[in-house]
């Protein structure tokens, strides 16, 4: 059986892993290669690197850190942030990343999804979706890096999920914005609703605070993987312990 995936997400700025609030006051918390090796050793199933600087500043930065990651770990990894065209995607993939994840560029230019899928294969193309519940509807937002730039794209989340998969997305990461950073658990209701229409792998993002949250999201929304950042970086949960717990709970994960 295909196992459920546990996916740590690392924010990278200028080749360093950073942590900050709302893209401000970034504090360097480590070297991406060391952290990647640590998570890989703990049996993380894959890693996501979010290149903050490229995304916000729309500048071209050195991608050599991607190459170093590829040289040092042998589990799959995805790079997100600032990938706006085929050329940039190609650079990232040829540096050794297995997948690229695009969010705002897919909103601004949906054709990019099909171009990427056609050029590299759907399995390389992950679409990140920032979804906000306004107490009536689930609405897609873009440029969520700061409150100033953030805007509603005018599509509800279900429709956008259908559209991106029709265009060739190979995986969807659904970031449930209302839960982001709150650590009260994944948005099960929303994920279960999206699961109904999502025929490609679906990854839950936003809200992980304790081990039980992972159990619940796998059991109740049937997602393929769960992404989390701070609970792993702050050593609140170790991936090895999380996986032992999930196995005890009869959820199949790789140990």
């Amino acid at each position: 059986m295909l196992t459920k995936r546990i996916i740590p997400c690392l924010d990278v700025k200028n080749g360093k892993v950073v942590k900050g609030v709302q893209f401000k006051n970034h504090r360097i918390i480590g070297d991406p290669i060391k952290l990647a090796a640590k998570y890989s050793e703990e049996n993380a199933d894959e890693l996501v690197f979010y290149d903050i600087y490229s995304s916000v500043e729309s500048k071209s930065v050195s991608l050599s850190w991607i190459n170093e990651i590829a040289q040092n770990i042998n589990i799959p990894f995805c790079v997100a942030g600032g990938i706006k065209n085929i050329k940039k995607a190609k650079e990232v993939l040829y540096m050794g990343a297995d997948k690229v994840s695009i969010n705002t560029p897919a909103v601004e230019n949906p054709k990019l999804i099909s171009e990427l899928a056609k050029t590299f294969g759907s399995q390389c193309v992950v679409i990140g979706i920032d979804s906000y519940f306004d107490q009536t509807n689930y609405i897609v937002h873009a440029k969520t890096g700061s409150t100033k730039s953030r805007y509603e794209i005018g599509k509800n989340t279900l429709d956008w999920v259908r559209e991106v998969q029709d265009r060739g997305a190979g995986e969807i990461v659904l970031n449930c914005m209302n839960r982001d950073g709150i650590k009260e658990g994944y948005d099960i209701d929303q994920l279960a609703m999206i699961r109904e229409v999502c025929k490609v792998p679906l990854i839950a993002s936003g809200g992980a605070g304790k081990k039980e949250h992972f159990k619940k999201v796998f059991e109740n929304s049937n997602v393929d993987g769960a992404l989390a950042a701070s609970v792993f970086h702050d050593n609140k949960i170790s991936i090895s312990e999380l996986k032992s717990y999930l196995i005890d709970q009869k959820i199949e994960v790789r140990k």
Partner: protein, 191 residues
Amino acid sequence: MIAVIDCGGANLRSVSYALEYLNIKYQICINKEQIKNSNGIIIPGVGAAKNVMNNLKKYDFINTIKEYKKPVLGICVGMQIFYEFSEEENEKCLGLIPGKIKKFSNNNLTIPHMGWNKVIFNDDSFDECNGYYYFANSYYADVNKYTFGKCTYGSTFSAFVRKDNFFGVQFHPEKSSKNGSKFLMQFLKQL
């Protein structure tokens, strides 16, 4: 020296790094002379069968590979092209192994088949390799008499095939952590 064929796929680098990690000498090959001097071939494949076949044609590698007598390892789409035909863009392949490559068609499955799945080997040389491997495929080969490693996703399909000197894996050993290294070492022992 292992000849790693440049198939134009994005995993060329990952395969190279996996070999470096294991201290194996390799060369990325774009001409036939390089292949003739090698002890074995690895065909990394990502994308579609058509891409891989087009690259093999571009370098005029088709007959060189078919006539090669030392071990050959095809990875993912690199394995799929060993078959006669791929339903992906209706591509005629090398025809080294009978059968065709089909798309997962069960409506209850998410596709691509992406992530870690269990492989059970049935081959004396690879019996120690049972475990989880990383997959990223929408197309697969049915089990036939050349299947020596199976995986289940909806139904059971070929994860490891072997005919004469041709070895193929649907999973990505270069991305499969310790199990992947173990598998590659077992393959390299066949050289």
